[in-house]
């Protein structure tokens, strides 16, 4: 199934597809995998009866019971470590970290344990665990509940980092993450949980590490991740009105990164902008811009541009918070100036 057409029309066209929310897609993926594989379990704070604070796992404890949907103490390091140990010894844990901001507390377990165990053991031990958490601002949650810290884990070899942007991707990639033999972190944009999109009724799994062209275009490539895909698609619509045809490419995972698809798109359009909701400095946009600059240099008509979250602790006050996140308007301005159409 291709995601290149506008999503809303697909459900109507294809009888095997219905519209569900991002949250429902995540829940379906985990439930299907738990039915398929008795080794899969979820551990986290308020995951059982509460179904997580975002209600993503609502109702799952009724089907799978509290032995497989385990409410943990407020111990992020502890449950991450327990996930590593359980994964090493034959289970398939999904460690649920309520807010992406709290991955700071799991860092040793993710960076020094999960990521390195396979390598350090000379390939003998494996850590097939999933760490699922959230990202994304504009929920008026202030500095400690709004960050997008996926770059932190993307920096570390041995970890895979998935950042789905649509219900379709969220489901297919979650299933892939659960089946992966490696530690995989999935960052779900909390503002996307209610986003609806077409998802097949039949089973599918998406490969991790394959980008998806969300809209084809000729004049400028917008590489957009997670929450920024919708922003980029909106910007592309506005740009179309000014006669600029933008291609929107979603890497879908930062590690591994589908460099080839990004480079090919930039070669084709000869201009590229990278937009991601993590802090701009030392972040995902910097890495991807470097990859494109390196791989498409002789084809580019302009320097690769980047848009990330403003480098400030995310403010609470709504008018301030809104200034920190890339918007369609900012993208449009940037694309126009890049295409010489200001």
């Amino acid at each position: 199934m291709s995601m290149r057409e506008p999503q809303f029309s697909l459900a109507v066209k294809n009888p095997g597809v219905r519209e569900i929310t991002f949250a429902e897609a995540v829940r379906e993926a985990i439930a299907e995998e738990m039915r398929r594989d008795p080794r899969v379990f979820v551990i986290g704070e308020d995951v059982a009866e509460a179904g997580t604070v975002f209600k993503v796992l609502k109702g799952m404890v009724d089907e799978f019971g509290p032995q497989r949907i385990i409410d943990s103490p407020i111990s992020e390091a502890g449950i991450a470590g327990i996930g590593v140990g359980a994964a090493m010894t034959g289970m398939r844990p999904i460690v649920d970290i309520m807010f992406g901001d709290f991955i700071t507390l799991t860092m040793d377990q993710m960076v020094n344990q999960a990521a390195k165990t396979h390598y350090m053991s000379g390939g003998k031990l494996k850590v097939p665990m999933v760490l699922r958490t959230t990202m994304g601002a504009t929920r008026r949650s202030a500095a400690q509940h709004s960050q997008s810290l996926h770059a932190w884990l993307s920096h570390v070899p041995g970890l895979k980092v998935v950042i789905p942007s649509t219900p379709y991707d969220a489901k297919g990639l979650m299933k892939a993450a659960i089946r992966d033999e490696n530690p995989v972190a999935i960052f779900e944009d909390k503002m996307s949980y209610q986003l609806k999109g077409p998802v097949p009724t039949t089973e599918y799994v998406l490969p991790i590490g394959v980008a998806d062209v969300k809209r084809t275009g000729e004049d400028v490539t917008i590489v957009a991740t997670s929450s920024m895909v919708q922003v980029a698609l909106k910007a592309a619509e506005i740009l179309a009105e000014s006669g600029i045809s933008a291609e929107v490419v979603d890497p879908r995972s930062t590690a591994p990164l589908d460099k080839q698809t990004l480079i090919e798109s930039a070669k084709k359009t000869s201009r590229a902008i990278v937009v991601d909701e993590g802090y701009q400095s030392y972040g995902v946009t910097a890495e991807i811009a470097a990859v494109i600059a390196d791989g498409a240099f002789y084809y580019l008509d302009a320097p690769v541009k980047r848009l990330g979250a403003m480098d400030v602790p995310i403010p609470f006050s709504p008018p301030l918070e809104d200034l920190t996140v890339p918007t369609p308007a900012a993208l449009v301005d940037l694309a126009k100036s890049l295409c010489g159409k200001v």
């Binding site: 103490p73 470590g81 994964a87 040793d108 165990t117």
Partner: protein, 337 residues
């Protein structure tokens, strides 16, 4: 004014000793002797500049690893520490592949990519040594959760030093272990020092009080007496297999050498008298040999074992020295499974 060296600690109350036949105790002597000889050879490899990096010797603490691991089955799990050679050997690792790993050779347990502080061996249930102090408390507890979910009767043992009690992860993990009655045994090797600082400067309250606060079954034992460690551990293991939950075993012990092989001048943190007090009076090999002789075993047996072990160690060292380094193509292998 105390006239004892500060590193002296009152020996815990005696425990009921298991009824084993002398051959079984003698096997434990052999295991301890093997660890001692391994560590002496590792020290020698370091001082003769044939071993890359540093290593932390287990000499003086052998009774803990051996007493604990002899009470385990091959399929039980352990997690180990930066001072982990003793744990690995006691759990069944072979000398040659251990030395090969220490020297960064392809034949090592981790193809030379782990080194002294990261030896892991799935076949003997060794989930890996850890160079992050306290870093394996979660892993061992997770292994215990996995055991319980799989309906197995294995147990998981988490070795760590007294210094690891400064890490929050232990408390998070121990809390969950007791809440969920997980078959994990936390074995605290209290050698009194966190590197170069005595734990009276780093730990408020008592060490056992930390586990007791969670309602965890806690026992203190003389970590120099392998018979005591084994006997207590056997009960804790049986308890865990019966589903009665975690335990905390505090082993009073002492490292005879420096924190690592390069820690030669130790006068600024502990006295020669203190070291001598432990080496002379509290050596786990001497204590067991002495007791077995009281039971009528002839002294020559121990010398014979030591000699045989030494020859095995020599051969293993030679194997490791001769073994090739990993091919350059190994460098980016096993980043992902």
């Amino acid at each position: 004014m105390i006239d004892r060296p500060i590193g002296y600690q009152a020996t815990p109350d005696p425990v009921a000793i298991a009824e084993l036949d002398p051959e079984q105790w003698l096997h434990m002597y052999e295991q301890m002797s093997k660890i001692r000889a391994f560590e002496e050879a590792a020290n020698e490899l370091y001082t003769s500049a044939r071993m890359p990096g540093l290593t932390h010797l287990y000499i003086g603490e052998e009774a803990v690893a051996v007493g604990v691991c002899e009470a385990l089955r091959q399929d039980d799990y352990i997690t180990s520490t930066h001072r982990g050679h003793g744990h690995c050997l006691a759990k069944g690792a072979t000398l040659d592949r251990m030395f090969a790993e220490l020297l960064g050779k392809a034949a090592g347990y981790c193809r030379g990519k782990g080194g002294s502080m990261h030896i892991a061996d799935q076949d003997t249930g060794n989930l890996g040594a850890n160079a992050i102090v306290g870093g394996s408390a979660g892993i061992a507890t997770g292994a215990a959760l996995s055991i319980k979910m799989r309906g197995s009767d294995q147990v998981a043992v988490c070795f760590f030093g007294d210094g690891a009690l400064g890490q929050g992860l232990f408390y998070e993990s121990a809390n969950m272990a007791q809440l969920w009655k997980l078959p994990v045994i936390y074995v605290c090797e209290n050698n009194q020092y966190n590197e170069y600082t005595h734990n009276s400067e780093t730990a408020a309250g008592t060490l056992t009080g930390r586990a007791e606060a969670f309602g965890i079954h806690t026992v203190s034992v003389d970590g120099q007496d392998v018979r005591a460690v084994y006997s207590v551990m056997s009960e804790l293991v049986a308890r865990a297999r019966r589903g009665e939950g975690p335990a905390f075993l505090l082993c009073h012990t002492y490292r005879f050498h420096g924190h690592h092989v390069g820690d030669i001048d130790r006068s600024y943190y502990r006295s020669k008298e203190e070291e001598q007090w432990w080496r002379e009076g509290r050596d786990p090999l001497k204590l067991l040999a002495g007791w077995l002789q009281e039971q009528g075993m002839e002294a020559a047996i121990f010398a014979r074992i030591d000699e045989a072990v030494r020859r095995e160690v020599e051969a293993a060292v030679q194997f490791a020295l001769d073994a090739p380094y990993p091919d350059a193509s190994e460098v980016d292998r096993h980043v992902y499974a």
